[in-house]
Symmetry: C2
Subunit: 195 residues, 2 copies
């Protein structure tokens, strides 16, 4: 079965977003990342900033704090609601057209989609920190802190909603070390896998 | 830097050995797997069977049992001795010629080798069990048991000698799901990365 949907999960600073864009451009297909936030905002009426914070980086501190603080009496929360809308949008996108979807547990949401290829992009801490320093114009210390915090939030969110472990090979079809292979080569491998 | 040494780490039943052989054939380079055992046997005087058991699948039960039972007074053990000889052979092979080396912590031993590409091959439990049943002519139950036991031994051995976690993406340059991609495609990706 030819694959036409590519989900890209990525460590912060590994260039997963850039690689995802490269793949979409090389294949001439749609690219969804922040665009999903806009769609969730449209459907829920929440501000995009709020969605961004709660759609991929929730629960914010720990499952425990999350359960205690933000769940309502029915056991559901704002985060759960945003997640469910986001999930529906991702399923609709995958039915509608060939596309690259970055982050947002898309690999799990489209786990059974027979046209989806699931990619994980990771890298060496040193290289990722360099990239983060460059992109965000921050010190090495700040970059390390931001990297750890972002990946921690992503993994807590992913593990909570998928019951899997973020970054574990078994969740993906191919895992690429962008620090060793380079962005271009990562993109080429993915393109060759779906062409 | 062009890569000419390929280390292949693999889950039991994922076809890593077959993929490694395919890569060596496609590139016309040497392939080392059981051959390393023969060399260790030659250097140590131990029987090949004994090396096989102790070279990649030790410590046999747990680090604790291993430390208590098989270490001599100097804190070293038969397993440590075999590991050190195996390590030296792998370093020599990598200096001598382009080659594919399967298993035996080669990814860690050649971690700093600038011509080495480190690959991890994994697969879905269902597909791996089917392969193991076919290859070993055993029942599904036996295949599951053998798969779990073998991967457990490999991971204990790897974690002990490398201080890393077996199968964790960060140890490798590329991780491929052979159940989804197929053996041929896995081999092609690797060949394209070193060509």
């Amino acid at each position: 079965m030819k694959k036409s949907i590519i989900t890209v999960s990525r460590e912060f600073g590994s260039g997963g977003r850039i690689i995802g864009k490269m793949v979409a451009e090389k294949l001439g297909i749609a690219y969804y990342d922040k665009q999903i936030i806009a769609r969730v905002a449209e459907k829920t009426g929440f501000a995009e900033d709020f969605i961004e914070k709660n759609g991929e980086y929730s629960p914010s501190k720990s499952i425990f704090a999350y359960a205690v603080v933000s769940r309502d009496r029915a056991g559901s929360s704002m985060n759960d609601y945003i997640y469910s809308v986001q999930r529906k949008i991702i399923l609709e996108l995958a039915e509608k057209e060939a596309c690259v979807i970055v982050g947002r547990c898309a690999d799990d949401i489209l786990n059974d989609h027979n046209k989806a290829l699931h990619v994980f992009i990771y890298g060496s801490p040193e290289e990722k920190i360099k990239k983060i320093m460059d992109t965000h114009k921050i010190s090495e210390k700040e970059a390390l802190k931001l990297m750890k915090a972002t990946d921690k939030k992503r993994s807590i969110n992913y593990n909570y909603y998928t019951d899997k472990q973020w970054g574990r090979t078994q969740n993906y079809d191919v895992c690429l070390n962008s620090s060793v292979l380079g962005y271009e080569k990562c993109a080429d491998i993915i393109v060759n896998l779906v062409k």
